[in-house]
């Protein structure tokens, strides 16, 4: 077997250097979520400065948060080409650069590009790469480690007063410049994303940049993009000259993909003279890249199940959080108590994520069962929310919603890993995020429209509750899909 410069591991680390990766993921959560939250402060400043309507100014924030999801497939592609470290650093430079250029902004459309598009793209890079590398480093403790990393969102409450102080001292131009500089810290932390090679029990060495099969399915290339895995395994494992092997592969490969194999075969043939690892990397990844645009994921029923659940839960998640303070105000609760509600919700969500992660990692039952039940409970809580009309009742609702939402949020990534099976987590997450982006983009206007139409906030809670219940429905089809797959 060919050895890479980095030592291959027999199994996933579940610790060790993985904690540094978690640290980076933590920082990414802090900054990426912090960007969205501090944007609310800049919103007011920009509206005053450029005298735009709140709708126009709101577009900047919408572009920033939705592009984080829309750019998923692009991130997967670039990650294949350049590797994770570079992709993550690129993301950090994009965000920091976006902030720096925004300080010279002269109008709202200018800001839409420099403060919406660029940071959104950058945060997509940062977030997705960090999530994928986490899945490579952790298997048994994936849920717990993801939950710990996501607790970074809890720290974002510090960023808002800090931003206000910066604006008071240096005005918004100076504040943007300094925030860009602080976000540059994500560059050294992305360098912590060391590539890792997992030697899974059933497969030979797998290239880290473009593929992962932690559950070790059959190396059959029949249905998925794991064709990539196969080619690489063979290419690497058999060193260079084994092109004769490839026709043999066609036995295990379905007919419609043999043409592709021939292409790859030719390309591999061209490069077989060179012993450079990187060339292999490039060829195999380029061939895999073709796969990513192949939409083969659409043939995967698990993809549909996960995406349906992901999109609906994203749509339903932020509506209660968005409207909590407003609802408290309409019920006559003063601002101090309402902000107390928000902070309590944040803390409980963080703690609940960690507990849920730990429980899921114990593997008493499959993770998606937990995910399902949390989603159903979230839905029921939201449907009962309109009954909360006094402060204690609202507090009860907030606490229970925080507990259940923390529960399912921690499990998104582990369930994705479980469901992705043969295909790469990168592409799966990328494409699923793309669809989730649509939910994120349509969320705020939808919530606003609901409020305008019904003139109360109860409508949004009913909507959110139904979305949660619907999102859990698809997860019931997992056993069915598994049976369909093995058939």
């Amino acid at each position: 077997m060919l050895k890479r410069k980095v030592q291959p591991y027999k199994k996933t680390l579940d610790g060790g250097w993985g904690w540094m990766v978690i640290f980076h993921f933590f920082l990414v959560n802090v900054f990426v979520m912090g960007m969205t939250k501090t944007f609310a402060i800049f919103f007011v400043v920009f509206q005053e400065e450029f005298e735009g309507t709140s709708e126009q100014t709101g577009w900047i924030g919408s572009i920033m948060s939705s592009l984080r999801f829309f750019a998923g497939p692009l991130v997967a592609v670039i990650c294949d080409i350049t590797g994770e470290k570079t992709a993550s650093s690129l993301g950090a430079f994009l965000v920091a650069g976006g902030y720096l250029i925004s300080s010279w902004a002269t109008s709202i459309p200018f800001l839409c590009v420099t403060m919406g598009f660029l940071p959104g793209l950058g945060s997509a890079f940062l977030y997705q790469v960090a999530a994928v590398v986490t899945t490579k480093y952790f298997k048994k403790r994936l849920a717990l480690s993801t939950a710990i990393a996501r607790s970074g969102m809890g720290l974002t409450f510090l960023l808002a007063p800090f931003t206000k102080v910066l604006i008071d001292l240096y005005d918004w131009t100076g504040a943007l410049v300094l925030l860009g500089a602080i976000i540059l810290h994500l560059v050294p932390s992305s360098m912590l994303l060391r590539p890792i090679h997992i030697k899974s029990t059933s497969d030979s060495d797998i290239k880290d940049e473009s593929s992962l099969s932690p559950t070790g399915p059959e190396a059959a290339c029949g249905t998925e993009t794991s064709c990539c895995n196969e080619i690489q395994e063979l290419a690497i494992g058999d060193s260079i000259m084994q092109k004769e092997q490839r026709p043999g592969l066609s036995l295990t490969v379905s007919q419609n993909q043999s043409k592709e194999f021939n292409n790859e075969y030719n390309r591999n043939g061209l490069f077989r003279k060179t012993n450079e690892e990187t060339y292999w990397k490039k060829t195999t990844s380029r061939s895999c890249k073709q796969k990513l645009f192949d939409f083969s994921l659409f043939k995967n029923p698990f993809f549909y199940i996960f995406t349906w659940s992901f999109v609906l839960s994203q749509l339903a998640y932020f509506i209660p959080t968005f409207h909590l303070v407003a609802r408290a105000k309409t019920l006559g609760i003063n601002i101090m108590d309402a902000s107390y509600l928000v902070s309590v919700a944040g803390i409980i969500e963080t703690v609940s994520q960690i507990i849920s992660g730990w429980v899921a990692d114990q593997n008493w039952i499959k993770k998606y069962h937990y995910h399902k039940s949390y989603l159903i409970l979230c839905g029921i809580t939201n449907l009962l929310a309109p009954l909360a009309t006094t402060f204690p009742l609202l507090m009860t609702y907030t606490i229970s919603f925080a507990v259940f939402s923390g529960g399912y949020l921690a499990l998104i990534l582990p369930v994705l890993v479980d469901l992705s099976g043969n295909s790469t987590v990168q592409s799966f997450l990328g494409l699923a995020s793309f669809f989730a982006g649509m939910a994120v983009l349509s969320g705020p206007p939808l919530a606003g429209w609901l409020y305008d139409y019904t003139q109360t906030y109860t409508g949004s809670y009913y909507f959110s509750g139904t979305c949660y219940l619907l999102s859990s429905v698809s997860l019931f089809f997992i056993p069915l899909a598994e049976r369909w797959k093995t058939v």
Binding site: M1, L2, K3, K5, Q7, D168, L169, Y170, D171, T173, G174, V177, L178, G180, A181, I182, L184, H185, V187, P188, M191, L192, S202, D203, S204, E218, A219, A220, E233, L234, G237, D238, S239, I240, M241, Q242, E244, Q245, G248, T252, N275
Partner: protein
């Protein structure tokens, strides 16, 4: 009284004589003396018509009737009309119970074409320790009625009522009434310019005085509480706003220290004063420099006085945040360098052990090379088994 003083008699002599007589009578009335002889009545009636360019006194009736041992009703009706100020009718009736007190009642009906009547009241009890204050914001000339209510614990009638404007004791234009255990006193002020603004206080009692204060003020202007941060060469807009009022005029003053220089007097490009609505004013300053730092004052001029707001401007140079940025960027570069060095160091440590393995690997490759074709079958099977 003023009407009488400003009088230019145009009528006949007789009305003038009557006037003089009534003036004397009236003056004595206002000085707190009510001429009433017991067992007698003093009906006095006066009619007077005067016209004045600013002020016209249409009719004027004073009737003083005093019943023995009982009361001294004094009634006065006066009608004045003026272009600025119109007081249509005005009657004072003073009823006094014998040997005890002089409750005075005044009824005044005012009709004005452009003046409104505002009424404000304060109520106090004997045991309220804090002086009660009420702030009244006036923008336009109007009539203001100030009413103090006082509930004494003891005897109503023994309480002495006085009014003061600032420190000056007011001696006329107020009434006292007692109903159902509460003492009401009312003072009416016709506010037409800034001289009538200030603080008016009603005092109850002699020894332990209870005091209620009405502060008549012009509306306040909101400047900006936090200093505005700007950079050299930029332009900035300073804004002053008044919540619910419409000043007649705005002026801006810039001051370094105590010297206040009006801005915009020599009209130039640097300062542009504008305002979208009447209740706000904007001062746009372009080409900012260090000298433009400091506090700017916006003066709002009302009919009843002036009010001002502050806006503080701070001008920074671009180097200030840039220095901080460079410091943070340098720190990031240091971190990156440290991590790179660390990685190179760990790789160097591994290299001696890796070299041997790579050598092995090269050999392995050669082996595979040569065996490739023959071993295709078994290898393929091996792969399959591995794959399962």
């Amino acid at each position: 009284m003023r009407a009488l003083q400003g009088l230019r008699g145009l009528g006949a002599v007789l009305p003038l004589l009557l006037l003089c007589f009534l003036a004397a009578l009236r003056r004595s009335l206002e000085h707190g003396l009510s001429t009433a002889a017991p067992f007698k009545s003093l009906p006095v009636q006066e009619e007077m018509m005067t016209k004045y360019s600013n002020l016209s006194l249409e009719s004027h009736n004073i009737s003083v009737t005093a019943a023995p041992f009982t009361s001294l009703p004094v009634q006065e009706e006066m009608m004045t009309k003026s272009s600025n100020l119109s007081l249509e009718s005005h009657s004072i009736s003073m009823t006094a119970a014998p040997f005890t007190s002089l409750p005075v009642q005044e009824e005044m009906m005012t009709k004005s074409s452009n003046l409104s009547l505002e009424s404000h009241s304060i109520s106090m009890t004997e045991h309220s320790n804090m002086p009660v204050e009420k702030n009244i914001t006036l923008e336009r000339p109007s009539n203001v009625e100030l009413i103090c209510q006082f509930t004494p614990s003891g005897d109503l009638n023994s309480v002495n009522v006085t009014w003061k404007k600032g420190d000056k004791l007011l001696e006329d234009n107020y009434l006292v009434n007692a109903t159902g255990g509460t003492l009401y006193t009312q003072h009416r002020v016709a506010v037409i310019n800034s001289k009538q603004m200030g603080s008016y206080s009603c005092f109850f009692g002699e020894k332990k005085q209870q005091r209620g204060t009405f502060n008549l003020k012009v509306p306040e202007i909101n400047g900006q509480n936090k200093p505005l941060i700007t950079y050299l060469g930029d332009s900035v807009v300073l804004m002053c706003k008044c919540q619910d009022c419409l000043p007649l005029n705005w002026t801006w003053y810039g001051g370094n220290g105590s010297v206040q220089v009006p801005i915009g007097v020599p009209v130039n490009d640097k300062y542009v004063i504008s305002g979208k609505h009447a209740n706000e004013t904007r001062l746009k300053i372009t080409q900012l420099s260090e000298d433009d730092q400091g506090t700017y004052l916006c003066h709002a001029i009302f009919e009843l006085g002036e009010s001002e707001g502050h806006v503080k401007l701070v001008v920074l140079s671009y180097l200030v945040p840039l220095k901080v940025f460079c410091a943070i960027a340098a720190e990031v570069v240091l971190l990156v360098a440290a991590i790179l060095l660390f990685e190179m160091y760990t790789q160097k440590k591994k290299k001696p052990s890796d070299d041997g393995k790579e050598f092995e690997q090269g050999e392995q490759l050669k082996l595979d090379d040569s065996n490739g074709i023959e071993n295709s079958g078994p290898r393929h099977r091996k792969n399959e088994s591995v794959g399962q």
